[in-house]
Symmetry: C2
Subunit: 204 residues, 2 copies
């Protein structure tokens, strides 16, 4: 648990509601949380989905393990504690984005089940929607793709605490969407997520 | 300086640009940074501005010292170091909001000039717009208002490191907008900001 040091703090009510922003945008804020091994295709799917949504006039934004770590989380490393704080902060940012009304595409390895469940709880406690998307790919396939050459470095011992090699990946027990990225095409993956968003009225 | 612990991190390019989001929203992302003493009227102005913008079909969002501290920054206190990290994280979040295309209303005492300048630099280094709004109010007036009873507690020694009492407030040297909140009406303050936003084409 994060220690709560903030005191003398109260919520300042506004005059514009989350529902009003959703009406303006004609969509409903949601966090789509892509989890899976490095190289499983999370960011590739998120990039393609972002494009598809814009083509339909919908506002989405991609939070990415890479670009977040160059900004707000640049003072965090890859120890278990830092990974947990990394995911906690991203979860809080995702909540803010949901409140704005954005279709938020959060793409992070996020290997620990407890961390993902914590982000889910953060959302659900504030009545925001959290959708876990398991981008499922065999380690051997991810390692074969190795788009950033990171598996090679991890196998050579040049990177420590690498998920799938010397750090665990805990698979989701009950994700809202399960994509077998070594079986489906990119279009099929995006179609599946769009169908979910339409069926659940996040977009119309 | 924040220690940079992130390694093996590269930016993942997308297929949707900031400009495209701005076109969709018919507005341009900007951070409006309200700084001033506790009780100077920062949040009151931000709340009224948010309402005015929504009435014109513009998407804005309020980041507030209070509600941010209940979420992403709840593991930070009020020491000088923690205040600096508090403002740094908010600056990074504001940048993300700008990138989405949101008119971001960041309302924080942010008493240290270096911290505000750091947030400005963060924005300008990425070609995002940072507008410093000094909500200027005599300490005596703020203390008389004391909407949350915090000055009373600080004077009684029940709160330590309280800006204006036993912690300094460094006034902005060259804010884009300077509002004398003990002289202007709330409508006049909102009018002044709206005129700035229109003149600089953040809204049309």
């Amino acid at each position: 648990m994060v220690q709560d040091k903030s005191t003398n703090v109260t919520w300042h009510d506004g005059l514009v509601s989350c529902d009003e922003r959703a009406s303006l945008l004609e969509q409903k804020g949601v966090t789509l949380w892509f989890t899976g091994l490095s190289g499983s295709g999370k960011s590739t799917i998120a990039v393609a989905l972002e494009r598809r949504l814009m083509d339909q006039g919908k506002l989405s934004y991609r939070l990415d393990g890479d670009n977040i770590r160059l900004g707000i989380n640049k003072n965090l490393g890859f120890s278990a504690d830092d990974r947990t704080e990394n995911i906690r902060r991203i979860g809080e940012i995702s909540k803010l984005f949901c409140d704005v009304g954005i279709l938020t595409l959060a793409s992070f390895i996020s290997p620990y089940r407890d961390d993902r469940d914590h982000v889910r709880q953060l959302h659900e406690a504030s009545d925001f929607s959290f959708v876990e998307i398991f981008v499922d790919c065999a380690l051997s396939s991810a390692e074969e793709r190795d788009p950033k050459g990171l598996y090679k470095k991890a196998r050579a011992g040049e990177i420590k605490n690498f998920t799938g090699i010397d750090d665990p990946y805990e698979v989701p027990n009950n994700p809202e969407i399960h994509l077998r990225s070594d079986v489906l095409s990119l279009d099929q993956e995006v179609d599946a997520i769009m169908a979910f968003l339409q069926h659940n009225k996040f977009v119309v």
